[in-house]
Amino acid sequence: MNQEKTIVLEHRCFQGNYRLIKLAAPTIGPLVQPGQFVHLRVPRLENAVLRRPFSVFKADDVGLSILYATVGLGTEALTSVAVGEEVSLLGPLGTGFPGVGKDKFPVLVAGGYGNAALYLQAKVSPVKGVAFFGGRSAQDILCVDEFEALGWDVRVTTDDGSLGAKGLVTDALDSWLEGEKDVASASLELFACGPNGMLKAVGDRALGNGFAAWLSMDRNMACGVGACLTCVIKRKTETGWEWARCCKDGPVFEASEILW
């Protein structure tokens, strides 16, 4: 974990409401593990006291990139940041995805910017499995080509049918699971990132079918380093539950750990 002053190398519209920002981060970049995130201080947003957490989309020795949707104060202000400007990052933060288990067949499930959180996992995965991408409409489906280029079998669903099948991503997952009944469920391993509703639905499938699902959870964060106890999530224990910190113990949790 480091605090680094990074420099904006690239910043552009990616697709629809999503933008890509690439930062020179020679200290943090090389350390990033799949599913980890960075905590970013939006430059010149002087009335905001909090940083903003973003999954690392891609990372290498030079730096890292983030794919973000503009949804509020911080992300809107972020759009005005220019190439060459300085951006402070904390990172890499959190406990990301575990490696795909031996002999497991990996399945990715992503909604919206969830694809960004899954890309590095998709890349390092020794086996390239099936990836289910869901979104409201075509412009919420990101990076299909890039996942296909890595060797993944990408299945798209949109709420409005503007790209891929019409329906929910979990519908697509369900019918696929149905078709794969002969494959022992135990050999599947899911990795998911997206809205809470989707994550819960994916988690239910995993619990019902007896396979593991690693879910990257999204919680409002203040410190990002485990100090403030803002981002807590109920994690099951033998006797009940305890608070786990999404920023430190997560953001990735195994579905069966979570008390929804």
């Binding site: 605090q3 201080r41 909090l50 940083r51 919680r219 380093v225 100090a227 608070w243």
Partner: protein, 305 residues
């Protein structure tokens, strides 16, 4: 250029500089250790601890506001014994003074946590958070009723020999009353201020932004409120004051010191930038040096009114 003397004393604690961190914004110690050399700090103040483990509030627990934030974490924690087991060993490898923030739901609770923490040598002082509702007396706040306030301070004082710092609630008409009461009951110092009771509502859902409905406002937004409270309290007590509320630059810290604080705490600004406290320390040193002021003590309470 002289090298200014940054040392300050709060009771028997020697702080090598006047900067600590505000309880609840710096975890239990280890969380920021990767970002901050803890031994650079004047003291570390950890998250509020009660006698028994406590679960805290549901989420959402924080919400950002204009130049500030709301929090209603609800004081979750491992309890005094849990804290000692889990975190004191960590502090053995550091020399920084450790201030443990404590709270209770009853006067006896306050006494118990003080008693437990009176034991371990590594605990250097207690900071007593009185902004809690008193469950026995139907929710009146220890920090806003001066009789309840005195009973808490008396109880804690009777249970520990360690320095006790009373952290005043800001939502009172007359802070002097509480500052004087703390001193009279034998407190070694005062902290001002805790976050200010506040609220936010999501207009779409019409639900409060915090699960707890209300929470405390902190950050630069409240600095001018804290400044006045510190200035007022400094006029009536001789024990040192730790000023806090929106400290994020060396200038903020110097302003509190000039107003009458002997030390300051960096709270919300840790979230904005974990290196704030160290930046503040360095900035104070540079400023004193540039002005040829020999020591922090020479600046305390020198406001010209």
């Amino acid at each position: 250029m002289n090298i200014p003397d940054l040392k300050v004393k709060i009771g028997s604690i020697e702080m090598k500089n006047p900067v600590t961190v505000a309880s609840g914004t710096f975890g239990y110690g280890p969380e920021y250790a990767d970002y901050v050399d803890l031994d650079r700090l004047g003291a570390i103040t950890v998250k509020g601890i009660s006698a028994e483990p406590h679960v805290g509030n549901e989420t959402p627990r924080t919400f950002e506001t204009a130049s500030g934030m709301l929090n209603a974490i609800g004081l979750p924690g491992p309890g005094a014994n849990g804290f000692c087991e889990k975190y004191l060993p960590f502090f053995e490898s550091y020399s920084v003074p450790l201030i443990v923030n404590v709270w209770g739901k009853t006067v006896e609770d306050y006494g118990r946590v003080a008693e437990i923490l009176d034991g371990p040598a590594r605990v250097n002082a207690l900071e007593v958070n009185v902004s809690c509702p008193n469950v026995k007396e139907g929710g009146a706040l220890y920090g806003t009723d001066v009789d309840l306030f005195r009973s808490v301070v008396d109880e804690v004082r009777s249970k520990t020999e360690k320095p006790i710092i009373i952290k005043l609630a800001p939502n009172v008409a007359n802070i002097k009353l509480f500052a004087k009461a703390a001193e009279a009951c034998g407190a070694d110092g005062i902290s001002i201020m805790n976050s200010y009771p506040a609220m936010g509502i999501d207009i779409e859902t019409r639900k409060p932004q915090l699960a707890n409905r209300t929470g405390g406002l902190s950050g630069p937004a409240i600095k001018p409120i804290a400044m006045k409270l510190v200035w007022e309290a400094a006029q009536v007590v001789d024990i040192p004051i730790i000023g806090m509320g929106g400290v994020s630059t060396p200038e903020d810290a110097l302003e509190f010191i000039i107003a009458g604080a002997s030390a300051v705490a960096v709270g919300t600004a840790n979230f904005t930038d974990p290196s704030t406290a160290v930046r503040v320390i360095d900035g104070i040193e540079r400023w004193l040096s540039a002005k040829n002021i020999a020591s922090v003590d020479d600046l305390v309470g020198t406001v010209k009114t």
